[in-house]
């Protein structure tokens, strides 16, 4: 397929792997931010192609994984109401709340629908004027413009039966939390290509400078990842800490300016709780005052609800790169894709699910699954 097969070419992949091998002289730890990148790395076995000095740790960029537990609970409370059509991206439906998930609400008779675009939810609201249509607006900067557009359209069209349950999160504040931690092990970043398609990469320059870490905007195909790793390792070996763009076919430095303007109009920056990590200052988006009437939390009176997370799940540490999924005592035993304790075991972008799905064969993983020696 045009523009796809080319980026999965085995010969070119091996050439990049060889180039990384020739460049590296000592151990480096790189973090790929995005869950989509984690998925590709594990699916294609990119880490197997790397010299042993280069270790990849998996970042917090899985939107399903970082959406706080209490928001899943709120979604379930709203979705269970008979007057509501609750619309969501597909992989949010299986994320466990305190008890059950959105699929269980659907099974109990709730009208829960998978949509591909939030603007589809606006159409559903137009088609069902007697119902309240709620869209579950989660995700990073990548999904924010389309979610903002749905609210913007609803306001322009005077649609009163549409609202959004918002839990948007932003990448740069999470990177700062990781880099600012005394336990930080990350020496270089592969920034999330699709986030940067929207936001550009100017905002990463102060981070690279302050923490003296190279940041390479990287795509999602095997060759993207290998090239991104090569660029990052080259910088580390040369003692540089620049922001570079591997994903130039999709990302410009200034990003998608009209999309950013729409996001800035509809949303405002707020402190946001991240599942497994806790609250991070100025790390999320909520509706701006001008669009506050579309806030589902207010409309359905669930704003004040809070809840605590399962203490056994170490997803927060996994998402900050401090632990690998197999370091968790529950991994592969009490926590599997069929019965996830935490969100990273749910989404195909979640590090735990990616490990579980693709890696159980290797001896270190098998030992963990079979004998629980890592717990």
């Amino acid at each position: 397929m045009k523009y796809l097969e080319e980026y999965r070419d085995p010969v070119a992949a091996q050439q990049f792997a060889d180039a990384i091998q020739r460049t590296v002289t000592r151990p480096w730890k790189l973090m790929e931010i995005c869950g989509g990148q984690t998925h590709s790395i594990v699916k294609y076995g990119i880490d197997e192609l790397l010299p042993k000095q280069v270790e990849l740790v998996h970042g917090p960029g899985c939107p399903v994984c970082v959406t706080p537990l209490e928001l899943i609970d709120k979604a379930m409370q709203i979705a269970a109401q008979p007057s509501v059509i609750f619309c969501s991206f597909g992989d949010m439906l299986r994320v466990p709340g305190s008890s059950g998930d959105l699929f269980s609400v659907k099974a109990a008779g709730g009208d829960v629908r998978i949509v591909y675009s939030p603007t589809d939810s606006v159409q559903i609201a137009i088609q069902h004027p007697d119902k309240q249509v709620v869209f579950f607006a989660v995700g990073f900067e990548t999904t924010a413009p389309a979610n903002a557009m749905s609210v913007f359209q609803a306001k322009q069209m005077g649609i009163k039966n549409y609202s959004v349950l918002v839990s948007h999160v932003l990448v740069p504040p999470a990177m700062e939390v990781i880099l600012g931690s005394p336990d930080n092990r990350v020496q270089g970043f592969l920034a999330a290509g699709h986030v940067c398609t929207i936001m550009g990469y100017k905002e990463y320059e102060p981070i690279a400078e302050k923490y003296r870490v190279p940041i390479v905007v990287t795509g999602f195909e095997p060759l993207d990842l290998l090239q991104g790793i090569y660029m990052c390792v080259s910088q580390l070996e040369e003692g540089r800490h620049d922001v570079e763009n591997q994903y130039a076919r999709a990302v410009r430095k200034e990003g998608n300016v009209p999309a950013q303007q729409l996001v800035a109009k509809v949303f405002r920056v707020v402190h946001r709780k991240w599942r497994g990590i806790g609250e991070i200052a100025k790390s999320g988006l909520a509706l701006s005052p001008e669009f506050a009437e579309f806030d589902a939390e207010t409309r359905f009176g669930v704003s004040a609800y809070t809840t605590e997370e399962d203490s056994e799940c170490i997803s927060g540490l996994v998402m900050q790169g401090a632990k690998k999924p197999k370091d968790c005592a529950a991994y592969g035993k009490r926590c599997t894709p069929d019965h996830p304790l935490g969100a990273p075991m749910v989404s195909s972008e979640g590090a735990c699910a990616a490990y579980y799905r693709y890696r159980r064969l290797r001896s270190d993983d098998l030992v963990n699954v079979g004998n629980n020696t890592h717990g």
Binding site: M1, L4, R8, P10, A13, Q14, G36, V42, K43, Y44, G45, I46, E48, L49, P63, V64, F89, G90, D91, M92, L93, R94, F103, I114, Y116, V138, G139, F140, T142, T143, H194, P222, T336, P337, D338, S347, S348, E349, Y356, R357, Y358, R359, R360, L361
Partner: protein
């Protein structure tokens, strides 16, 4: 589904035939070997490019018999209709069933119709059961799979799954992707007629190629190794999967199967399959190993190796 089977159904009804966990049961009555199977069809949408619930209801059951190596002969059909289901749609479904039955050379010999209250059904559900004649001495089942066997795939993957998904979600692509729905008896009959020693057959419906391989690896307690680069998937199907975040290896097919045959039969089996229209794209995709028992591994196009795992529930479209 896997859990339901393992946790409830197998323990409740345990008998040797059921424990084979094949698409149908092969049994002997008064010295005659027969295959017996049933399946229910609840597809949404009812009509899709390349077929409808009627073509599925006939071919699905015909294929379950074919996967036992049995010549499909007689079918039953039971309809559960929701009150108010349009007569015109029912006529269309029945006509599709008639044509599919003629093409598969089976007779529909008994049936039942029930009507449920409006809101208590989803338009129409169809169940079919089938009987076929086993006219050879082979045991075509996971228990016959041996290390060294090669795995042949009858053609490209994922068209039915994408056709349904595109229709359900109102997605349009440059060209319409049609379901591969069709009868699989002809290629199986051709293999049997040529004396190919078939060890196991499995059609790649719900859960796709991955689930079929995993089920057989678990049932036969063998390892299975496949090569990603050998698995044919059409470009438009790959494109749709990229957009929807789906994996073609898990997509449902309605006219594709895998055959486990001894290695020495590889060339002749492929020649035979390639001569039949429905399996003209047949290729070798992998081989059976002694270890690791119960696991399926795939060599990726980059030369790395990974495990294929059973899907939990439906494939869900990703956020971004």
């Amino acid at each position: 589904m896997h859990e339901l089977l393992e946790g409830l159904l197998l323990p409740s009804f345990q008998n040797d035939l059921l424990l084979e966990r094949h698409d149908g049961a092969t049994l002997t009555i008064a010295g005659t070997r027969l295959a017996f199977t049933t399946d229910s069809y609840v597809v949404k949408p009812l009509f899709f490019p390349g077929g409808d619930i009627g073509t599925l209801a006939i071919n699905g059951t015909v294929n379950d018999l074919a996967m036992c190596g049995a010549r499909p002969l007689y079918l039953s059909s039971a309809f559960i209709l929701e009150e108010g289901f349009p007569m015109e749609s029912l006529r269309r479904v029945v006509e599709s069933m008639r044509i599919a039955a003629v093409e598969a050379n089976v007779q529909l010999v008994t049936g039942d119709t029930k009507v449920v209250d409006k809101g208590k059904g989803d338009g129409i559900f169809v169940n079919t059961a089938g009987i076929g004649a086993v006219e050879h001495g082979l045991t075509i089942a996971p228990s016959s799979v041996r290390p060294g066997d090669v795995i042949l795939l009858s053609g490209d993957l994922g068209r039915h799954g994408v056709a349904i998904m595109a229709m359900r979600e109102g997605l349009q692509f440059e060209s319409t992707i049609e379901s591969d729905c069709g009868s699989l008896w002809e290629p199986v009959a051709a293999l049997l007629a040529a004396g190919i020693e078939i060890h196991c057959l499995r059609d790649l419906t719900r859960g796709g190629l991955s689930s079929a391989l995993i089920e057989i690896a678990e049932a036969a307690q063998v390892g299975i190794s496949i090569d990603e680069i050998s698995i044919p998937v059409r470009e438009d199907v790959i494109g749709a999967c990229e957009i929807l975040g789906l994996d073609p290896l898990y997509l449902a097919n309605e006219g594709r199967f895998i055959a486990f045959v001894p290695e020495h039969a590889t060339t002749s089996a492929l020649e035979i399959l390639n001569r039949v229209a429905v399996s003209s794209g047949a290729v070798k995709i992998g081989q059976v190993l002694e270890n690791p028992a119960g696991l399926v591994t795939m060599k990726s196009r980059l030369g790395t190796e990974r495990i294929l795992d059973m899907l939990s529930g439906e494939q869900l479209p990703r956020i971004c």
